[in-house]
């Protein structure tokens, strides 16, 4: 007689099989004493293990757990509060500096830009004026003096 694999038998015992498989195992168990005995043994062991009672937690142990948990939670609460406080302080510090930086940089930057513009205008104007005063007299003077000296006079 062919027997189902042990894993299938165990899954049957655990109610972990799909219906079709479960039906096949059930049919097999009806005709196989060996597998039926195995299932019965599983049940006996389960009952014996389950029936073994465990002692209850003593009132003293429970009190100790609650007292220590209370302390630990309070400590954690304080740590958390201190952490939040630190975070808030850091936030404030950064915010302050952010404000300072944004104010301090905008005004001088604007001042610097306007000053540069004014300077640029002044320099441009100055340059134009210098060009006019420098070239005009030199060119006319030289031309006049040169031509005057070299050109032969009529009747010479």
């Amino acid at each position: 007689m062919k027997h189902p694999p042990l894993e299938i038998l165990q899954d049957y015992f655990e109610n972990a099989l799909v219906l079709s498989q479960e039906k096949r195992v059930k049919e097999h168990l009806l005709v196989c004493d060996q597998c039926s005995k195995m299932m019965a043994d599983f049940a006996v062991i389960e009952t014996k293990v389950l029936n073994r009672s465990a002692p209850a937690i003593s009132a003293q142990a429970q009190q100790r757990i609650f007292a220590d948990a209370k302390k630990m939670l309070a400590q954690r609460g304080q740590q958390k509060l201190a952490q939040i406080e630190r975070q808030e302080k850091m936030k404030e510090f950064f915010h302050e500096w952010q404000e300072k930086l944004s104010f301090d940089w905008r005004v001088p930057a604007l001042q610097f830009a306007s000053l540069s513009l004014v300077l640029a205008v002044v320099v441009a104007v100055e340059t134009n004026q210098t060009e006019e005063t420098t070239y005009q007299p030199i060119s006319t003077d030289v031309q006049v003096s040169t031509y005057q000296d070299v050109t032969p006079q009529e009747g010479e």
Binding site: Q10, D11, I45, V49, L50, F66, A69
Partner: protein
């Protein structure tokens, strides 16, 4: 309220949430530890440690949606690992005392027989290899699924199934040897 709600509140430091989670899980965890260690006092001490660990490590817990009892599995993982450490520490000095010796009242026959039987089962369970003992306990006593046991012990589901089968087979042999099973 659901576990996840209490867990969220415990993360915020709520004492009420701790008490609620304690009431829900401490008795089962204590039984699980007692089952693994075989000593009521040690199980209580370890339960204390596990409860403190729960507060310390709650920030690391993330729910696993594929698991029905995700938080329960997480707690069992904490306590199982702690129990394994303890068993390794005292290897060779394992106690086989399972009955509650604090009772000084004479026991009635039926109760005495039950206690004796329980003591025997406890001793036999301690003879199982640790892995088999843990799997059998988690499946039979704590009614956890293969998937949950696999998450607690960090082994794949097939290994869990095999261990469970071997645990039952070994238990049967031990019971037969003691004449406690036909």
């Amino acid at each position: 309220m659901s576990d996840e709600t209490w867990v969220a509140q415990l993360k915020e430091g709520s004492e009420e949430a701790f008490q609620a989670l304690y009431q829900t899980y401490a008795p089962d965890l204590h039984r699980h530890l007692f089952y693994l260690l075989g000593d009521a006092q040690e199980a209580e001490d370890l339960l204390h440690e596990v409860m403190m660990l729960m507060i310390q490590k709650i920030g690391f817990y993330t729910p696993r949606p594929e698991m029905k009892n995700s938080f329960k599995a997480w707690l069992y993982r904490l306590s199982t690992h702690r129990a394994i450490d303890e068993i390794r520490k005292r290897k060779g000095k394992m106690t086989t005392e399972w009955t509650d010796v604090s009772d000084s009242e004479p026991l009635q026959d039926e109760l005495y027989e039950k206690r004796e039987q329980e003591g025997l089962i406890g001793e036999l369970l301690l003879q199982l290899p640790l892995m088999q003992r843990m799997v059998l306990g988690l499946r039979v006593n704590d009614d956890l699924s293969y998937l949950e046991i696999s998450a607690i012990l960090g082994k794949d589901v097939n290994t869990i199934k095999q261990s469970l089968f071997h645990a039952r087979k070994k238990m049967k042999e031990l019971l037969l040897a003691q004449g406690a099973m036909a």
